[in-house]
Structures are given as structure tokens and as C-alpha cells.
């Protein structure tokens, strides 16, 4: 499918990146408050999945290492799915970050779901608010416990599920914890995003 993303102008890309920057700031704030740590943000990146999967994965830079991946869908005018990529030992890292003693698999998974919910909610609500869209959320779930993102994403794209991937990295330097949030927006709601971006840009 040829998407409008192939013709995403520099201004549109820049605006999208800035919308995402504001949205991820809200996620980071929630994570920081939850864990009592300082979260380092990175510049968000915009990937169009009109290119080959290889190109996107190379751009992502995290395609080949096994990851623990969670997912949560969002619905409304803006539709898609957020994948949160943790290290394979992500649950243990989070438990330590939270200062939890109990570290069994069940409570680890619960913690992963909670954190996925918090990061996704803050980020997508932040994004949606800026483009005046309402969204609701599905329940978070575990997608892969130790799988290369290359495989995970290949399945997604094969289902025609996503055409725009917005990437954000959160890092807690004091605990060497990182996770990547991939916001995958469906092809049919990309137009909503682009329209909102154009409206923003037309106001200058």
C-alpha cells in the first residue's frame, strides 16, 4: 500500500516529532513519579513503514536483540497499538526500580502490565489531546517474553496493522533501565494525524 507517509514533508515530520515529544514528556513524568527516579528522554523518531521492514528495523536499532514486548491497543479517531520493549530482564529491573522485594514471575508480569498501561495511557492521551481526538484503550498484554523485535514487527506489518511508527526511549540512568515505546498507528488513521499536523502548521 502506498501511504501518504512517502510524501511526508520535512515540516510535517518535524511537527509530528514535536507532538510526540510533548506526549512522551507526560509518560516520562508518570514513570518518574511512579519510581521516584529521574527519567532521561531521547528525541522521538518518526518511521514510516512504507519502506522495507529491514530499513525500519535498522533505523530502530533494536531489531535483533531479544526483547520482552508488551502491547496495548488504542481506539477512536486515532487507532493503533503501542508496543513497549523492555530488556528480557525487564520485569526484574522494574521491580528493583520500584523497590519491590517479591520478584516472582506472576507479580513481575503484573508490574509490566501496570507500567505498560501507565506509559501508554499518558503518551497516547497526550498525543490525542494535541490533535483533538478522543481515544479509549484495550487491556495491556504480554506479546513476547524473549523475541527479536524483527519477528514481532514482521507479524504486525504482515497483518497490515501499522504504517507509522513513532519511537521514544526512556532511560533511568541511575538504575541502567531502558525501555522503548513504539507507537504504531494504523494506516487508516494516519490521515487523521496528518490532517491535524497540517492544521497546526497552517496556523503560522
Amino acid at each position: 500500500m502506498t501511504s501518504q507517509l512517502t510524501v511526508l514533508s520535512e515540516d510535517q515530520r518535524d511537527a509530528l516529532q514535536e507532538l510526540m515529544n510533548v506526549a512522551m514528556g507526560q509518560s516520562a513524568d508518570r514513570l518518574a513519579r511512579l519510581t521516584g527516579t529521574f527519567v532521561t528522554l531521547s528525541v522521538p523518531r518518526v518511521h514510516a513503514v512504507t519502506q522495507t521492514l529491514d530499513k525500519v528495523l535498522t533505523d530502530l536499532g533494536i531489531g535483533d536483540e531479544p526483547q520482552l514486548v508488551t502491547r496495548q491497543s488504542f481506539l477512536g479517531k486515532l487507532r493503533g497499538e503501542v508496543l513497549v520493549c523492555f530488556a528480557v530482564s525487564g520485569a526484574g529491573e522494574l521491580a528493583e526500580l520500584m523497590g519491590y522485594e517479591n520478584n516472582d514471575v506472576a507479580s513481575g508480569d503484573e508490574l509490566l502490565m501496570d507500567v505498560t498501561n501507565i506509559l501508554t495511557g499518558a503518551c497516547i492521551n497526550g498525543l490525542a489531546a494535541q490533535i483533538q481526538a478522543m481515544v479509549s484503550f484495550g487491556a495491556p498484554s504480554l506479546m513476547a517474553r524473549a523475541k527479536a523485535l524483527r519477528e514481532v514487527l514482521a507479524e504486525q506489518i504482515a497483518q497490515g496493522y501499522q504504517s507509522l511508527v513513532l519511537e521514544v526511549r526512556f532511560e533511568v540512568a541511575s538504575h541502567s533501565f531502558t525501555c522503548d515505546l513504539l507507537v504504531c498507528i494504523t494506516d487508516d488513521s494516519v490521515a487523521v494525524v496528518i490532517e491535524a499536523v497540517d492544521k497546526l502548521l497552517s496556523e503560522f
Binding site: D11, A23, D29, V39, V43
Partner: protein, 119 residues
């Protein structure tokens, strides 16, 4: 006032420009990262600096540090999406006069300029 706007996003820089009260800036310079900002400051182009935090090459924290180290004579107002309380504390301790969260509005800009005594 000589105004320097530092942000890697051109849309964000335009939002800052739009939010400035009319007549406030006598000269406007834009920079896309901290390194460019320091160059502009050294060229005497900045009395007031509007500074983003999350930027490539040199981020806002490092820029503040560099400005502090050389005892720079400029008022820095941080405009960022990084709204963590610790981020705000850190920029204050590094010498920023005010913190405004993104996306900036003319009202928030006016309040910040008033709070730091610029209007």
C-alpha cells in the same frame, strides 16, 4: 531584547516566536541545539534565551551547565515537554530563571516573562 530561541523542532521555535509579546524582541536568532546556541550567545546575540531540553548534539541541561560555568550574562527560560519535577529542579539549580511546559501559549509566555521581571 535580543532573543535566542533554541529547539530542534522548527515548529516549536515558531510556537515560541508566536507566543512572544509584540515588540518584546528587537532581534531574533534561532538555534537547533545547544552547541549552536552557545555560538550565538558568544556572538552577542542573546540577552534572553528560550531553551528546549531534549535536543540532539547538545541538550538543554548541558547547555545550561556550559552557560553557568562561564557565568553567562543571559536570562534563560526553559521551555520543555520534560515536565518531571526533578527536571524542573535541575534546570533551576543550573541557573534557569523559569520553566514553561510545552506546548507554549502566549499566556504562559507572558506569565514567565513577568515572573522573571522582563515585562
Amino acid at each position: 531584547m535580543k532573543v535566542l530561541i533554541v529547539d530542534d523542532s522548527s515548529m516549536s521555535r515558531k510556537l515560541v516566536l508566536k507566543a512572544l509579546p509584540e515588540g518584546f524582541a528587537t532581534q531574533i536568532t534561532q538555534a537547533a541545539n545547544g552547541a549552536e546556541a552557545l555560538d550565538a550567545f558568544h556572538d552577542g546575540l542573546a540577552e534572553v534565551i528560550f531553551l528546549d531540553l531534549t535536543m540532539p548534539v547538545m541538550d538543554g541541561f548541558n547547555t545550561l551547565e556550559a552557560l553557568k560555568k562561564e557565568d553567562a550574562n543571559a536570562i534563560v527560560i526553559v521551555i520543555s515537554a520534560d515536565i518531571q519535577p526533578l527536571a524542573q529542579e535541575r534546570v533551576r539549580s543550573l541557573g534557569a530563571a523559569a520553566f514553561v511546559k510545552k506546548p507554549i501559549t502566549p499566556e504562559a509566555m507572558e506569565k514567565a516573562l513577568f515572573d522573571v521581571g522582563l515585562i
